[in-house]
Symmetry: C2
Subunit: 587 residues, 2 copies
């Protein structure tokens, strides 16, 4: 086996084409071994195996600098830069190697921690400028997929790379796919360039001042080496547009590119996955509900930005929704601004987005949406500690962010029934933008009567009236609040339980009413507590005698955390909360 | 006079070219009357007078929808849509009419509140989609300057407008200028298009699938009418690229376009401004300091994004800095990511940005910069209530935003000397990204000894040790804290005064130490208190006996507020703070 012997890219340099092809085959097997046992990004990595081998053959990392966009395609690079252990062997060996570009893991070969899209060219221009100032001569190579090109930051990066005017090589890895299909006018040009082998009349990259090379055979090592050699050490901003096949070499991934972009473990022989236990999911419930509502309301529009799966909008459901679903490609800013425009124009848009990506749209939510008071709805998925845990994909920050933007209502339903009641109300009202934090702790049901009208002012719901201690448990931590209140009952404390429902403002009336017969308010939120929900309550009570225990997760850089340890470190396990409450009220 | 009689664009329809030209001349005079008496955007509005007359002559607002980008060019539109009163007469009449597109002011003719850049096309695509779903047939017209085209959201909007495939008209108002000069590869194409009268080989807009028209004479009403008529009611995404002259018709503004982009009142006869009292400014101090430091450190780089004036980098200073200053055009995302890349590559970048625009970069600060721990410096200008006050430009939200991003240190100097000590330390350290909130309450000096080394952990500075009450007064509210402490002394309270210096985390040790002999902590911050600095402190003390009074500005949508009223409404006048303190400690 070659790849076990390759400790660094230098070991590739002496190999001939035939041997390099074997390295590629082994790398592909290693990638498949990892994703089949561990899960991860399948299609983008498989399609970039040959290009990675050729890049490391032609260029001289670590002197030459690679910057991977979103880094869904960095596994082959990891295999060839001393991290094959994360791809061979068993799943236990794999956890030490992350699924993303990471200098924490390889300070030599990985230049940036990357997981959000469209950043590579901008980051690379910084290395380019540093090289130019220092007067060194390394190659700076940004690697970006066609899907990632739709994000605004990528355009800004391209614009600046051309302006700098010195050598930078931008590899456009065009596999004709984003996570799902591509959307946007730029894809008309990529198609025209592919179909004309780079010779069509209007070339976007040339129009912006780039040197341009096209390679049709993006999975052919020999041809890749040739094109990379032709641009090596260039002193001009240069785009190398290579046409690759997403999922190359693994039939199921080639045949169903969207399903095989990322996935859980599978049988590498045929791509089958064991049928696991089936759970209800909000993705499924939401998409079904929307499709039903859409039939009665042609103005209801499901909006996504490159991740239609976040909304449960599978290809079949997208097709069923027709013009009533719109995906922007990976362009969250556009999603928010367009939703605001749609709402202004009389439509009822609902944009679904993962918590970690909402931070790509602070200004658009504040400016395009909220100061205009247009009644678009934002459906925030996976907010909380029980979802994604890579450092690049932490879902703990949506509460501080969204609750500091004036003009936005942020609702936190606690059950499935409450969620859809809030969603329906949010869609039908025409006064304000409303965000809803979909519970991320599984689908909980209630048989209690749910209100169907909500207020524009914060109004907490007192679920159980007690005294001495009040637990205000928001969204996906509501059930934790229920448990805590039950456990307190066992300790002789008849605590009040409150579902606050509104995260954006405190309900002063309810908070004031607690002063009469409570001495401690406990807040629980499934997210970063710094700048979050509970601190507002602590501040509100600041000059009173009420004590407040704010429960949430301390602001910090977390990476691949264990949920229970995270909860425990933040004293958020049910028994810890009870313990802390008792320590205060029995002090 | 025509324009006094024009109550709506319909009144233009019967006029002939000669009369339309008179309308344009009167509109220009009205614009000049306003900006000379009231201040405002000069060059962009003067250059767009003829185009606005032609647009309103050809299209039928309010049925046809105009969306202005950044709306620096909307004054002529206001003159022609019933708001001439804001441009004629005296300065008192002008305050009722804002300097930006505003549906609050004209729900009929203004479609969006707009003041940040690069949003028009995205917003317009929402109206386009709404029209398509509803099956109506109005024209949707986005008006965007060449400078605004460099922002990522504009690209995302263009990309989607082409994807939608139906009629939308994008007027590219090319005056060869951003606020300052343009930066970016796209300007190579705009230049080539201008020089070839729209016929050059590689046309960016055509490459993305747009129909394209070029008009060289962008200040010629007759030709403008002709080109607008030729695209009216189009069913295709269409770009009309018009070449206008920024400042057209007012010589000083034509001759010095950057200085006349926006300005304070002036003498319309010759453009002279009365020499006012001269104040020290941080813009001036910072740019001088940087230029001096740069001479000793070739790796020190001043970064700006379309607003070099924020850093005091006048054309002469930009020229003096040479390669050590880089402006991105209006591309804040690029600025942050590139700064991170530069820091990674061994440079020492300092990005200067106005508080209101930092929110365009949440994700880049969190992802490109902070999870990478690259030691770039962010110099935040004008944060606080005493700077910009239009609803689109509020500078109150940088503290909640930046302090909720893990991995970022946010410093708040209180004097000039402390500011430069912090800046120097931030530039020389190589461990972390650091933001500094430049005081916005004028340049205060101190003769006290300032530390030159700062900690990576929050460490408050106890300026005066007292008891009973502690006032923790951050950044530009520090002098307010000093006043309050002095006034308290007059009431027999020997209060402690603390300069917290760090906004991002509480200093637990100092807070704990106050418990011994204080019963009230008062926090003062010049910004939105919801999610801000003081709430962290209230939360930290939540389970103790310490009372906390959080002083800051309530989260809300504010527009053209009076500072004293705002302070008073939030009980932030010095005497109100004292009154509230006394009410608590003497209760």
């Amino acid at each position: 086996m070659y790849i076990e012997k390759i400790k660094s890219p230098a070991d590739l340099k002496q190999l001939d084409i035939k041997a390099l092809q074997l390295v590629a085959d082994e790398t592909r097997s290693a990638v498949l071994n990892r994703v089949s046992k561990h899960g991860g990004h399948v299609g983008p990595n498989l399609g970039f195996v040959e290009a990675t081998v050729a890049l490391h053959y032609v260029f001289n990392a670590p002197k030459d600098k690679f910057v991977f966009d979103v880094s869904h395609q960095c596994y082959p690079h990891k295999v060839l830069t001393g991290r094959a252990s994360g791809f061979l062997g068993d799943v236990e060996d794999m956890n030490a190697i992350s699924g993303y570009s990471s200098p924490a893991e390889s300070p030599i070969y990985d230049n940036f921690e990357v997981g959000h899209t469209s950043t590579s060219i901008s980051l690379a221009t910084g290395l380019q400028k540093a090289r130019d100032i220092k007067g060194t001569n390394e190659n700076i190579i940004a690697i970006i997929g066609d899907g990632s090109l739709s994000g605004g930051e990528a355009f800004e990066g391209l614009d600046e790379a051309s302006e700098l005017g010195t050598g930078i090589i931008i590899i456009v890895n065009d596999n004709e796919m984003s996570i799902a299909e591509n959307h946007g006018g730029i894809y008309k040009n990529l198609r025209a360039l592919r179909e004309s082998k780079g010779e069509c009349q209007h070339n976007w990259f040339k129009s912006w001042g780039f040197e341009y090379k096209y390679l049709e055979e993006g999975n052919d090592i020999e041809k890749l080496i040739e094109v990379f050699k032709s641009v090596k050490d260039t002193d001009k901003p240069t785009v190398v547009h290579i046409h690759t096949e997403k999922g190359h070499g693994f039939k199921p991934a080639v045949e169903n590119k969207e399903a095989w972009h990322w996935g859980m473990p599978f049988n590498p022989a045929d791509g089958s996955r064991p049928a696991g236990p089936s759970f209800e999911s909000y993705e499924e419930l939401f998409s079904n509900w929307m499709l039903k509502e859409m039939k009665n309301d042609p103005t209801l529009i499901a909006v996504t930005a490159g991740t239609p799966a976040a909304a449960g909008f599978s290809p079949a459901k997208r097709s069923e929704a027709g013009k009533q679903h719109i995906d922007m490609g990976i362009a969250e800013e556009q999603a928010v601004a367009m939703a605001s425009g749609m709402a202004k124009g009389g439509l009822r848009p609902v944009w679904t987005v993962y918590s970690t990506f909402i931070q790509r749209t602070y200004d658009q939510i504040a400016q395009d949406l909220c100061i205009n008071s247009n009644p678009a709805v934002i459906n925030v998925m996976w907010g909380g500690c029980g979802t994604m845990n890579d450092i690049t994909h932490i879902c703990l920050f949506d509460i501080p962010m969204l609750t500091s933007i004036p003009g936005l209502i942020y609702l936190a339903p606690t059950t499935c029934e409450e969620y859809f009641a809030m969603m329906k109300w949010a869609i039908l009202q025409d006064r304000k933008p409303i965000a809803i934090r979909v519970p991320s702790n599984g689908v909980n049901h209630t048989s209690e009567k749910i209100e169907t009208e909500f207020s524009f002012e914060s109004k907490y719901k007192v679920v159980k009236k007690g005294s001495e201690v009040a637990v205000i448990a928001a969204g996906s931590f509501f059930q934790k609040g229920e448990n805590v209140v039950k456990m307190l009952a066992g300790k002789g404390i008849n605590a009040t339980l409150i579902n606050p429902r509104y995260l954006n403002e405190v309900d002063k009336q309810t908070l004031d009413s607690l002063k009469a017969d409570h001495k401690l308010v406990v807040t629980l939120e499934d997210g970063c507590k710094d700048g979050g929900f509970g601190e507002r309550i602590a501040s509100y009570y600041g000059t009173s005698d009420m004590k407040v225990l704010v429960g949430g997760i301390k602001k910090d850089l977390y990476d691949r955390f264990d949920v229970n340890k995270l909860l425990s470190d933040n004293r958020l396990l049910d028994e810890q909360i009870v313990e802390d409450i008792l320590a205060i009220v029995r002090a």
